[in-house]
């Protein structure tokens, strides 16, 4: 069976992926590969991954998101995670996955503001 593809939208210099359905492992790995390739193809400065619709994030998906943020970071692209539900935040911390190196924002709108601020800073010549 083909794995489900998560649409990745481009707005200006930013990519936005909103995960709307429960990801099984193969589709999550496919998403990672698609996203990194799209970062390369579009030279995006930032990526927002919106998880508002997810009611379960287990250690596999949590680790994958941390990996995506680290890998995108190596390519020079920032990742902001948005929309974690309270129950998801609680279970992730109880699992032991605090994602300390992943930037987060309460919702997509705030995530966009964080991203705009960061990309403007880098346009000013700062790292």
């Amino acid at each position: 069976m083909d794995s489900l593809r998560i649409p990745i939208l481009k707005i200006g210099d930013i990519l936005i992926a909103s995960i709307q359905v429960a990801l099984h492992d193969a589709s999550a790995v496919q998403f990672k590969d698609d996203l990194l390739q799209k970062i390369h193809d579009t030279r995006a400065k930032g990526v927002i991954i919106d998880l508002t619709a997810l009611d379960v994030v287990d250690s596999f998906i949590g680790r994958l998101i941390a990996d995506i943020a680290a890998m995108a970071g190596l390519m020079g692209t920032r990742v902001v995670l948005t929309g974690l539900q309270p129950a998801v935040a609680i279970t992730l911390v109880e699992l032991g996955l605090e994602l300390p190196r992943v930037l987060t924002a309460l919702n997509l709108e705030k995530g966009l503001k964080v991203m705009q601020r960061m990309t403007e800073e880098s346009d000013d010549g700062a790292v």
Binding site: H24, D55, L95
Partner: protein, 133 residues
Amino acid sequence: MGQSKAAVIRSDLDIVIARTMARDVAKVLGFGAIDQARIATAVSELARNIFLYAGTGNVTVREIEKGTRKGIEIVCEDQGPGIPNIDLVMQDGYSTSRGMGMGLPGAKRLMDEFLIRSQENVGTTITCRKWRN
């Protein structure tokens, strides 16, 4: 009698099916949204363990009672290689596969009771329970 449901784990798709089933049962039993997420996440970790280490197995979810308390019991069984050293796999960060080594200890933290029975080359049965407040 009480709610009881079972799922066979054969692929990564079945992990999602098993945890959705557990969440649905937890919801019917009156668990709140956060406990539903804890139960579904624990089942996701345990079902993935079956898939990664044994290939196939079963997840059964049922209603339990102790006196006036009601709860949910999850039994995950496989006929896989077994766990030679249970203390080791219950340590945070220990992993022999693609996992982060937080599957079993993480699932234990999300549940109230957690019991592993395992015999090398025979299989593993993990029973865990969560009680409703």
